[in-house]
């Protein structure tokens, strides 16, 4: 990435100070940039920086996860077995495919394929909705079972695994936890809801922006050379996908071996 413009003496860009003078630049180039390349470079860099802040934001939750899992491992194992690995894997696949469709969208924008772009974005949108749908099913199950941390949290399934036949069949070896360790399952579920919730919030924002993008893409806004918006959104979408992959591994796959 070029950081500064080399002075050769031949490339001085002069703009007329007088009002109304027409500048030699593309219609989608903002006025404070000298060239479109500079604009593209700058906005791309800005998006990477923003993703860095997002990593720091999630970082706090990951830190909490690391500490509490280290302290309360038996509780985390038993609590994690409450999660349905099938839904989780499905969601992971959904997101990975959506990342693929998003990458296709970026390629379409770069190669000026308007229809292809609209299709790719729409597929990404549908897959995003599918993810959120599956997540809400999962959350619904947790709410029913009183595994939402807080005032209605129930320890029963952890004190007496036999009271939950479905999970008990899958993990017959899970011992009942004693009361003090059972209380720590609430920490696991708080992390589950906070991390997947924060992630879902980012998904919702992404899906919302996708709607906006599909409308604009149909009007041809991104297939005339102005691809940075799609590229930068692609970065965001991939980031959200990667976060999910970590969440899946950390939350769903604790001690799942037979």
């Amino acid at each position: 990435m070029s950081d500064s413009q080399v002075v050769t003496g031949n490339e001085v860009v002069v703009h007329d100070a007088a009002e109304g003078a027409h500048h030699e630049h593309l219609p989608y180039q903002r006025h404070h940039f000298e060239t479109y390349a500079q604009q593209s470079d700058a906005t791309n860099f800005a998006m990477w920086l923003f993703l860095l802040t997002e990593i720091m934001f999630f970082g706090g939750l990951f830190t909490a996860y690391l500490i509490y899992r280290n302290w309360y491992y038996p509780a985390f194992v038993v609590a994690s077995h409450q999660l349905d690995v099938v839904w989780g894997t499905l969601n992971t696949l959904v997101l990975i495919i959506s990342s693929f469709t998003m990458a296709m969208g970026v390629w379409c924008a770069e190669t000026r394929r308007r229809r292809g772009l609209v299709i790719s974005l729409s597929l990404t949108f549908i897959l995003g909705l599918a993810f959120l749908g599956i997540k809400s099913i999962e959350w619904g199950e947790k709410i029913e079972k009183h595994h939402v941390p807080g005032f209605h949290y129930s320890l029963q399934t952890f004190l007496d695994p036999a009271s939950d036949p479905k999970v008990h069949k899958e993990y017959p070896k899970d011992q009942p936890l004693r009361l003090d360790m059972a209380r720590h399952t609430e920490i696991y579920f708080f992390l589950y809801f906070a991390m997947t919730g924060m992630h879902a919030l980012h998904m919702v924002i992404g899906v919302g922006i996708l709607v906006f993008m599909i409308v604009r893409a149909r009007a041809g806004a991104y297939t005339t050379g102005h691809v940075t918006f799609v590229e930068n959104f692609g970065l965001y979408w991939h980031f959200v996908d990667i976060i999910w992959i970590y969440l899946f591994a950390l939350l769903y796959l604790i001690s799942r071996h037979p």
């Binding site: 413009q5 703009h15 006025h31 404070h32 923003f50 941390p149 906070a194």
Partner: protein, 554 residues
Amino acid sequence: MSSSTIVSLPDQSTARVPKMNFISKENGLLSWLLTGDHKRIAILYLVSITFFFFIGGALAGLIRLELLTPQSDLMATDTYNKVFTMHGIIMIFFFLVPSVPATLGNFFIPMMIGAKDLALPKINLLSWYLYIAAGILALYSMMTGGVDTGWTFTTPLSTHYLNTNVVSTGLAIFIAGFSSIFTGLNFIVTIHKMRCPGMTWFRMPLFVWAHYAASILMVLGTPVVAIALVLVVLERVAGIGVFDPTKGGDPLLFQHLFWFYSHPAVYIMILPGMGVISETISTFSRKRVFGYTAVAFSSVAIAVFGFFVWAHHMFIMGISNYSMLVFSLLTMLVAVPSAIKIFNWAFTLYKGSITFETPMLYTFGFMGLFTIGGLTGVFLGTSGTDIHLTETYFIVAHFHFVMVGGMLMAFLAGIHFWWPKMTGRMYPEKISQFAAVVTFIGFNFTFFPQFILGTLGMPRRYASYPPEFQILNVFSTAGATILGVGYLLPLLYLTWSLKYGEIAGENPWQATGLEWQTQSPPLTENFPAIPIMDHEAYDYEWLEGQKEKVASVG
């Protein structure tokens, strides 16, 4: 004009503020509220932070009034707790953090590097709206019952034992945090990508370096306090147990997450001020800053080291002795770059040609007071002395010396220094020098006794105290009154100068920065033509050659 000043103004009988400038370009409220112009956004910020400063200052006045007597007799202790909490929150998040970056940084970083605007003007405006939204929410919290957690939101007090507006205040700070993140993000992208031809990294003014370092801290540190506050809100609202020992949570986790940001936050607050000092000390000595490279790198060093010292706020909280060793050692390391800067600035005076206009007076005040504040920080970073001094008025004195004696003085230096550039008019010199001296005297009277109080053991956040501490408290309150006068005066005379100040012209200080080579106030696009940087920073010899060249649109 006597020869003991460098001010060089145009002939007042014929001079006018240039007709076409960023203020006159468009009229109407919407043109300001929907602007993308970094200069207009800077002015919006300036008005907003001044408003919050005086609210925070009024709260400080209430604190000092209560502390005139040993008993808690002016207000209920609950009210006192709310007053000092709100004072801290408003001063830190709504004044100090945005003060120099969002006003002077916003206004001058693009100009100093020869750009037309920041890289992301819409994000810049969004930053301001987030700040305003956060401010409104914080004021709402304050007026509908207040919050009394202390600005540090210590759990489990804030999560389980208070029934005040913790959630709304936490959310307000969360939103203000994003305002800060976006400002920092904007600055980093701008400094990397928008420098004019010839503007290499080491030709940039040190003001820009300082903001670059502060922006790294803003961008990497603020999200962590954001998540910490989210967790506090969730804990209060839903009882999730993250900081609740009975459920296995650890209240010390909050301390780590909170201080991981809040220590870098103090460097976010001071670095831009240090940037201002570099500019003023150079201009009023007519000399390049001594050891430019050292000062530039020390800014970045403070930013990097600043991330690794947070647990020095937790020395007595049960961290292990070995953690203490690591954090105390790193704290000693982070103190060194600040010392380097002070000496570099002092030696900038050597063989210079020094004048004592108001910005320079504030600069000298900064150097003395920041030195004291910084040295007392070493007292606190040394673990053995920290045991006795922490959580007392020694800490209060320490951070007020660096933040008020340091940062606020630097802010005022910057405001006075760039006032002619932003408004086209000079402030009245004599009364402003008087105000600077009054501020300095008032400050010392207010906060120096607090070092002694802290050593004697008076704890902080106390509404009542043992009677033997009264005399020092009375001194402190007396000083605060003087300090208040010192801060009110600029508000008055700067406003006055908008109409009646002398016309400043392009470069009243004969300074070297790119921002001084164009009209005052600047054009919306800053420069009639994109400048080409063909000289070093603080190149006074180049300036001599430029003296005849003035390009302004009239």
